[in-house]
Protein backbone atom coordinates (compact mmCIF):
# COMPACT_ATOMS: atom_id res chain seq x y z
CA UNK A 1 0.00 0.00 0.00
CA UNK A 2 1.40 3.40 -0.99
CA UNK A 3 1.13 6.38 1.32
CA UNK A 4 1.98 10.07 1.71
CA UNK A 5 3.24 9.91 5.26
CA UNK A 6 6.75 11.12 4.47
CA UNK A 7 5.44 14.21 2.65
CA UNK A 8 2.85 14.93 5.32
CA UNK A 9 5.48 14.62 8.05
CA UNK A 10 7.83 16.93 6.20
CA UNK A 11 5.07 19.53 5.80
CA UNK A 12 4.60 19.54 9.58
CA UNK A 13 8.31 19.16 10.35
CA UNK A 14 7.65 16.00 12.33
CA UNK A 15 10.27 13.28 12.76
CA UNK A 16 9.32 9.60 12.58
CA UNK A 17 9.80 9.43 16.35
CA UNK A 18 7.49 12.39 16.84
CA UNK A 19 4.73 10.76 14.80
CA UNK A 20 5.37 7.42 16.54
CA UNK A 21 4.96 9.08 19.97
CA UNK A 22 1.72 10.72 18.89
CA UNK A 23 0.13 7.45 17.78
CA UNK A 24 1.73 5.24 20.43
CA UNK A 25 3.83 2.93 18.29
CA UNK A 26 7.57 2.39 17.80
CA UNK A 27 9.64 4.50 15.40
CA UNK A 28 10.39 1.28 13.52
CA UNK A 29 6.65 0.80 12.93
CA UNK A 30 6.28 4.30 11.46
CA UNK A 31 9.34 3.74 9.28
CA UNK A 32 8.02 0.39 8.02
CA UNK A 33 4.56 1.79 7.22
CA UNK A 34 6.06 4.86 5.57
CA UNK A 35 8.29 2.74 3.34
CA UNK A 36 5.48 0.35 2.47
CA UNK A 37 7.16 -2.56 4.24
CA UNK A 38 4.21 -3.03 6.56
CA UNK A 39 0.53 -2.61 5.74
CA UNK A 40 -1.01 -1.04 8.84
CA UNK A 41 -4.17 -2.35 10.47
CA UNK A 42 -7.30 -0.30 9.89
CA UNK A 43 -7.03 1.16 13.40
CA UNK A 44 -3.41 2.24 12.91
CA UNK A 45 -4.24 3.71 9.51
CA UNK A 46 -7.08 5.71 11.08
CA UNK A 47 -4.77 6.86 13.91
CA UNK A 48 -2.15 8.07 11.42
CA UNK A 49 -4.72 9.87 9.25
CA UNK A 50 -6.22 11.43 12.38
CA UNK A 51 -2.86 12.92 13.37
CA UNK A 52 -2.69 14.71 10.02
CA UNK A 53 -6.36 15.76 10.27
CA UNK A 54 -6.99 14.00 6.99
CA UNK A 55 -9.21 11.21 5.77
CA UNK A 56 -7.65 7.77 5.54
CA UNK A 57 -7.84 7.81 1.70
CA UNK A 58 -5.90 11.09 1.66
CA UNK A 59 -2.97 9.39 3.39
CA UNK A 60 -3.06 5.85 2.05
CA UNK A 61 -3.28 5.02 -1.62
CA UNK A 62 -4.17 1.50 -2.71
CA UNK A 63 -1.89 -0.26 -5.17
CA UNK A 64 -3.76 -0.40 -8.48
CA UNK A 65 -4.36 -3.91 -9.74
CA UNK A 66 -3.54 -4.60 -13.37
CA UNK A 67 -6.48 -4.18 -15.80
CA UNK A 68 -6.16 -7.82 -16.95
CA UNK A 69 -7.55 -8.99 -13.57
CA UNK A 70 -11.25 -9.50 -13.04
Amino acid sequence: MNNRIKVLRAERDWSQQSLADRIGVSRQAVNAVERGKHDPSLQLAFDIADQFNLRIEDVFLPVKKSSSEG
Binding site: S26, N31, R35, H38
Partner: protein, 131 residues
Protein backbone atom coordinates in the same frame (compact mmCIF):
# COMPACT_ATOMS: atom_id res chain seq x y z
CA UNK B 1 17.78 6.31 22.12
CA UNK B 2 15.15 7.12 24.75
CA UNK B 3 13.56 4.03 26.23
CA UNK B 4 9.92 4.03 27.23
CA UNK B 5 8.88 3.50 30.85
CA UNK B 6 7.42 0.15 29.79
CA UNK B 7 10.72 -0.94 28.25
CA UNK B 8 12.66 0.11 31.37
CA UNK B 9 10.24 -1.86 33.57
CA UNK B 10 10.62 -4.90 31.29
CA UNK B 11 14.42 -4.70 31.48
CA UNK B 12 14.38 -4.31 35.28
CA UNK B 13 12.09 -7.32 35.74
CA UNK B 14 13.90 -9.44 33.17
CA UNK B 15 17.32 -8.68 34.66
CA UNK B 16 15.98 -9.47 38.14
CA UNK B 17 14.76 -12.85 36.87
CA UNK B 18 18.18 -13.48 35.33
CA UNK B 19 19.93 -12.53 38.59
CA UNK B 20 17.71 -14.95 40.53
CA UNK B 21 18.51 -17.59 37.89
CA UNK B 22 22.28 -17.09 38.34
CA UNK B 23 21.95 -17.19 42.14
CA UNK B 24 19.99 -20.44 41.94
CA UNK B 25 22.58 -21.94 39.57
CA UNK B 26 25.26 -21.09 42.15
CA UNK B 27 23.13 -22.55 44.97
CA UNK B 28 22.49 -25.66 42.87
CA UNK B 29 26.17 -26.16 42.06
CA UNK B 30 27.44 -25.68 45.62
CA UNK B 31 24.67 -27.73 47.22
CA UNK B 32 25.07 -30.73 44.94
CA UNK B 33 28.88 -30.60 44.95
CA UNK B 34 29.42 -29.96 48.66
CA UNK B 35 26.46 -31.46 50.51
CA UNK B 36 25.39 -35.05 50.81
CA UNK B 37 21.64 -34.82 50.21
CA UNK B 38 18.86 -37.21 49.31
CA UNK B 39 17.94 -37.90 45.68
CA UNK B 40 14.54 -36.15 45.82
CA UNK B 41 16.16 -33.03 47.31
CA UNK B 42 18.79 -33.20 44.56
CA UNK B 43 16.01 -33.23 41.94
CA UNK B 44 14.32 -30.22 43.54
CA UNK B 45 17.56 -28.24 43.78
CA UNK B 46 18.54 -29.18 40.22
CA UNK B 47 15.22 -27.89 38.88
CA UNK B 48 15.13 -24.70 40.99
CA UNK B 49 16.72 -22.51 38.26
CA UNK B 50 13.77 -23.33 35.97
CA UNK B 51 11.45 -21.20 38.15
CA UNK B 52 13.04 -17.80 37.33
CA UNK B 53 13.08 -18.83 33.67
CA UNK B 54 9.34 -19.46 33.77
CA UNK B 55 8.98 -16.07 35.47
CA UNK B 56 11.11 -14.51 32.69
CA UNK B 57 8.85 -16.12 30.11
CA UNK B 58 5.78 -14.45 31.62
CA UNK B 59 7.65 -11.12 31.81
CA UNK B 60 8.47 -11.53 28.11
CA UNK B 61 4.85 -12.35 27.31
CA UNK B 62 3.65 -9.14 28.98
CA UNK B 63 6.16 -7.20 26.89
CA UNK B 64 5.10 -9.00 23.70
CA UNK B 65 1.45 -8.11 24.29
CA UNK B 66 2.40 -4.46 24.76
CA UNK B 67 4.29 -4.28 21.46
CA UNK B 68 2.79 -2.45 18.49
CA UNK B 69 1.45 -4.48 15.55
CA UNK B 70 4.63 -4.15 13.48
CA UNK B 71 6.98 -5.28 16.26
CA UNK B 72 4.56 -8.09 17.14
CA UNK B 73 4.64 -9.30 13.54
CA UNK B 74 8.45 -9.18 13.41
CA UNK B 75 8.84 -10.88 16.81
CA UNK B 76 6.48 -13.64 15.65
CA UNK B 77 8.46 -14.08 12.45
CA UNK B 78 11.73 -14.17 14.42
CA UNK B 79 10.35 -16.97 16.60
CA UNK B 80 9.12 -18.79 13.49
CA UNK B 81 12.63 -18.63 12.08
CA UNK B 82 14.06 -19.94 15.35
CA UNK B 83 11.56 -22.81 15.53
CA UNK B 84 12.40 -23.69 11.92
CA UNK B 85 16.13 -23.58 12.56
CA UNK B 86 15.89 -25.66 15.75
CA UNK B 87 13.53 -28.22 14.17
CA UNK B 88 15.53 -28.68 10.98
CA UNK B 89 18.95 -28.68 12.67
CA UNK B 90 17.80 -31.17 15.34
CA UNK B 91 16.25 -33.34 12.62
CA UNK B 92 19.45 -33.26 10.56
CA UNK B 93 21.51 -34.02 13.67
CA UNK B 94 19.18 -36.86 14.60
CA UNK B 95 19.39 -38.36 11.14
CA UNK B 96 23.19 -38.19 11.23
CA UNK B 97 23.27 -39.59 14.77
CA UNK B 98 21.40 -42.67 13.57
CA UNK B 99 24.20 -43.51 11.15
CA UNK B 100 27.28 -41.95 12.73
CA UNK B 101 28.75 -41.77 16.21
CA UNK B 102 28.07 -38.13 17.15
CA UNK B 103 28.61 -36.41 20.51
CA UNK B 104 25.53 -35.91 22.73
CA UNK B 105 23.94 -32.45 22.74
CA UNK B 106 22.59 -31.07 26.01
CA UNK B 107 18.89 -30.20 25.62
CA UNK B 108 19.27 -27.42 28.20
CA UNK B 109 20.95 -25.42 25.43
CA UNK B 110 17.71 -25.19 23.42
CA UNK B 111 16.09 -22.49 25.59
CA UNK B 112 19.00 -19.98 25.56
CA UNK B 113 19.56 -20.65 21.84
CA UNK B 114 15.89 -19.98 21.01
CA UNK B 115 15.64 -16.79 23.07
CA UNK B 116 19.07 -15.48 22.13
CA UNK B 117 18.62 -16.44 18.49
CA UNK B 118 15.19 -14.84 18.22
CA UNK B 119 16.66 -11.54 19.44
CA UNK B 120 19.39 -11.72 16.83
CA UNK B 121 16.95 -12.61 14.02
CA UNK B 122 14.58 -9.83 15.16
CA UNK B 123 17.39 -7.28 14.76
CA UNK B 124 18.20 -8.69 11.29
CA UNK B 125 14.52 -8.43 10.25
CA UNK B 126 14.31 -4.82 11.49
CA UNK B 127 17.55 -3.98 9.70
CA UNK B 128 16.30 -5.67 6.50
CA UNK B 129 13.07 -3.65 6.57
CA UNK B 130 14.94 -0.39 7.07
CA UNK B 131 17.87 -0.76 4.69
Amino acid sequence: MKKSQQEIMFLQRFMTAMMVFLILIAVQTFTIELLDISTWLKVVITLMPVLPLIWAFFIFRVRYRALDEYMKALTGEAFLWMIGLICFSSFVYGMLAMKFDLPQVNLAMVLPIVFGGHGLILQILIWKDHE
